[in-house]
Amino acid sequence: MFADTGVPAFLEAAGAFGLSPGQAKVVVAGGGQMPGQSGESDIGGRNSLALEGLMTDRGWHPHHRSVGGKLNRTLKLEIASGKNRIQIPGQTMEEI
């Protein structure tokens, strides 16, 4: 599943639970690419673009973005506090 199909399915499922854009904090992380990936093979870049368009069209606006670059990211969500943490190799953990 890629962003163009996964994001609409996810938002639809969230909506079925009664969630609306104003009630959520949206954090977007990922969309990296390996050096040499471009055009058709740049899946991370294409996913980022698709996600932004799909969310904007539906009234969802990300509060925080950590996307792109030659980086892989680990996104952690602490359910109890609602805090998000993004870990990028070689950098200190970012808390949102």
Binding site: M34, P35, S41, I43, N72, P89
Partner: protein, 284 residues
Amino acid sequence: MNKKQIVSAIRDLEPIPEVALQIMEMSRDPDVAIQDVATLASHDTAITANTLRVVNSAYYGLKRKIDSVKEAVILLGIDTIVQLVFMQAASVNLKREMLGYNLMEGDLWKHSAASAILANQIAENVGYDEINLIFTAALLKDMGKVVLNQHVAAAIEDIDNLVHKLGYDYLEAEKEVLGLDHAELGSLIAKQWHFSPQMIRIICDHHLTGGRGIEHDDTCIVHLADAVCSMMGIGTGSDGMAYGFADEVLQRFNYAENGLDQIIMEYGQKREEIDALIDSFLMS
């Protein structure tokens, strides 16, 4: 720590059993008798036990319990048995925690096994014949990390600086800081374990650094499988996206138009079953 000292630590690895190499060699003969493969595999109790455990797992969904390697070979074919034998042998080393690469216990195993299964899928798609060779090369390509891990951990600041501040490829950074990289070290391991020159070459060149190995289909398939697993985030560590991707490999195999998407989707359709198979080796 010099290069010679790093290489000497290869002896601390659990080697691939000689029986596994012999079974792979037999599988290259199109006229090989199933009985001969089964007899050879049965000589190794660990191989026999593991083969029967996996063959009887939910992944294969066989209707009755299989009690002998011969039955397993008849039902699943020689190629599957070769692959299971190598998975068991390789998992012993690959499932360790490797904090130098920020890999938790089982992460490198998951990446390696998924790469092997994906390489098999790509090889079948592009009509490459030597499936077992491709599978095994993809499975073992990062064995050098097992040995290099502690040295990467000790030099992580220097490596990170080269990769994240100066734009080095991770392989180049390992070479610059430690004197050799995990692919070269992996090829030295394969040599010590008596693998074929072709296998040694694929492992050494699997990142296609500087275009080295780009002329060989086998190396390109393993490169593509490795890169796609990193893009999917399967068992990736701190080095995950910091290797070059040779875009021209997609053209070479006629994957240029949405090819990566197709590869990922095909793998994704079997993902649950594949994950269960891979995870089963973590419990053995």
